[in-house]
């Protein structure tokens, strides 16, 4: 194929432009990581750095010495783990019967699920339900109101529908109960999609800011996202961290960098898996609706 001069110019500009776009996207991460290892004076003195003059760990030493931060980290890890298990379990158990075309009442239930994607009661009625259930200031409020994502449910249901029915029929003939078929035949065949949606759900809970904001007043039950916001956006350092020692001045700027890094690192560590699975998930979702 012959390429003209115009074509070559276009290619060059295109490559430069896209590389620039990628750089703008990732540079803030390098800045934050470098900043978290920089000294307080360097942060205020130098405009932009991707490599600190001298590596110091003051900021990390400080946040890991305060039990408020460690507690929010542990709370977030536990809520994410427990929440993901509950969400995946509820999604799978609901999706399986809905994948059976012969189940009486299936279409009504499906339509009721789809309707929730178009219309919802909104923030205040949901809040009042959570309150009337006595879940305010409990970790359940961070998990149960989001237990099933209707989009994910429909995708998983479509996936189950594609599984060969003969295999399940054979299981039933061999004396498996319906739950046995689900447990021993369907679930082992669904490992990739279970992994995908476990990742979907865990990232969503890890990143959730609205639920703790709405349902958790007790600062001792704060999650990491609430904590990050308090330190970086509200800049309310002293109240949030708790005073360790009145004579010690915390590295105020450095802290902001360090809490962002700690809240982001787990996502970045999982990113290669996420990217692979998420891309697949979004495409399954878009093709089959």
């Amino acid at each position: 194929m012959k390429s003209t001069l115009g074509s070559k110019i276009f290619d060059t500009i295109n490559i430069v432009g896209l590389v620039g776009l990628a750089a703008v996207t990732v540079l803030p991460f390098f800045y934050v990581i470098a900043g978290s290892f920089a000294s307080e004076s360097e942060i205020t003195a130098r405009s932009f750095f991707l490599w600190p003059h001298q590596f110091v760990t003051d900021s990390y030493d400080y946040i890991f010495a305060t039990n408020t931060f460690l507690r929010s980290l542990i709370v977030t890890i536990c809520v994410t783990a427990v929440g993901t298990v509950i969400q995946v379990a509820l999604t799978l158990t609901m999706a399986y019967p809905l994948s059976k075309r012969y189940l009486p009442g299936r279409n009504i239930m499906l339509n009721l699920v789809i309707f929730t994607m178009v219309f919802s009661g909104g923030m205040i009625p949901t809040y009042l339900i959570v309150r009337e259930l006595g879940m305010l200031n409990t970790y359940w409020a961070l998990i149960l109101p989001l237990a099933i994502n209707p989009f994910y449910l429909i995708i998983v249901k479509n996936f189950f529908q594609e599984l060969p029915e003969e295999l399940q029929e054979a299981g039933r003939i061999d004396g498996c109960s319906e739950i046995g078929v689900f447990w021993r035949i369907v679930l082992p065949l669904s490992k990739p999609i279970i992994a995908t949606f476990a990742l979907f759900y865990s990232v969503a809970i890890w990143n959730d800011f609205m639920s703790p904001l709405l349902y958790i007043d007790d600062t001792s039950k704060w999650t990491l996202q609430m904590f990050v916001r308090q330190v970086t956006v509200s800049a309310d350092m002293a109240n949030t961290m708790g005073q360790l020692d009145p004579n010690y001045i915390p590295p105020e700027q450095g802290l902001k960098f360090a809490v962002i890094v700690v809240a982001t690192v787990p996502i970045l560590l999982f990113y290669p898996f996420l990217q692979k699975h998420f891309a697949k998930g979004i495409l399954i979702g878009s093709v089959k609706g």
């Binding site: 290619d11 703008v24 803030p28 999604t91 609205m210 916001r229």
Partner: protein, 298 residues
């Protein structure tokens, strides 16, 4: 019928927790919307609070907050349509023209990352980059404009910041769906066009763009339905005392009136108004798409 239901009892048992979830956390709040027509009192609950008709809607429409909140919401929605919606289409088209597949994959991997971060992290990064005096982005802007800017609290900067954040977080991820549509184009079409003497611009105009048209239409309908969903978390995190006049949108207004002020019925009415407009928009967009002989969503 009874026998059939009994036969599938185990399936119904499996589905039960999910059905309870939808009943409690999705349908009970829908019933709870009725408090928009009541003076809701917590100790009387959803069923016994006194009915007041359209009082709260009248209060909303005559409130001085209404034009401001509606205006802010609509302006952000319009900016979204103009800047955020086309961005992934353009980037996908450019990526599609990239022939070095290694480079293409590296760029894709980089621009997907922000999608996985929370709005808290995005807001925090913005606060660091645009901090007055010491933020690198502010310093750059100061050098260009020759002024000493306070980007984070200046109301004039609120909308540009919101749009920049959304572009940064969503553009890369948004390309996935368009790239998938582009990947399904038959390469023979390009071959034939080249033989006919089409240059790259003409190929893009006559082959590539028509190929993704239906995807664009579907995405446009979905966007229309969510037009008033400005994103509670993002706006809430970027709102401060100084920029509130331009920052307050329906989502944050519902939160402030309902959760912090305790005006449950009034804020439910605001939320309901927004939801109804959203539904009208999604059906309207769908109707428009069908009129122009495109495949609608439904």
């Amino acid at each position: 019928m009874r026998i059939r239901i009994f036969r599938y009892r185990w399936l119904y048992l499996l589905i039960l927790p999910g059905v309870v979830y939808f009943a409690v956390f999705k349908y009970a709040p829908m019933y709870g919307v009725t408090i928009a027509f009541q003076d809701y009192l917590p100790f009387l609950g959803f069923s016994d609070s006194p009915w007041v008709g359209l009082k709260h809607f009248e209060a909303l429409f005559s409130s001085p907050d209404f034009p401001r909140v509606l205006g802010n919401t609509l302006i952000l929605a319009a900016l979204h349509v103009v800047f955020v919606f086309p961005a992934p289409i353009i980037v996908a088209l450019l990526l599609n023209e990239l022939r070095l597949s290694v480079l293409k994959r590296a760029i894709q991997s980089s621009i997907y990352i922000p999608h996985f971060l929370s709005w808290t992290i995005v807001a925090s990064l913005t606060y660091l980059l645009f901090a007055m005096d010491i933020g690198p982005a502010t310093q750059l802007l100061n050098t260009i404009t020759g002024e000493r800017l306070d980007v984070l609290s200046d109301p004039d900067w609120f909308r540009p910041l919101i749009i920049m954040q959304t572009l940064w977080k969503a553009t890369g991820w948004g390309t996935i769906i368009y790239l998938a549509a582009l990947a399904s184009v038959d390469p023979n079409l390009y071959e034939a066009a080249r033989i006919d003497g089409a240059n790259r611009w003409q190929q893009m105009w006559h082959i590539t763009l028509p190929a993704i048209r239906s995807t664009v239409v579907v995405m446009a309908i979905l966007t229309a339905g969510n037009l008033l969903d400005t994103g509670f978390e993002q706006i809430y995190l970027m709102t401060n005392a100084l920029n509130r006049s331009v920052a307050e949108v329906f989502d944050t207004y519902v939160y402030f009136m309902g959760i912090t002020q305790g005006a449950y019925s009034y804020s439910t009415a605001v939320g309901l108004f927004k939801a109804v407009v959203g539904i009208i928009l999604i059906f309207g967009a769908n109707w428009l798409a069908r009129r122009f002989k495109q495949n609608g969503l439904f």
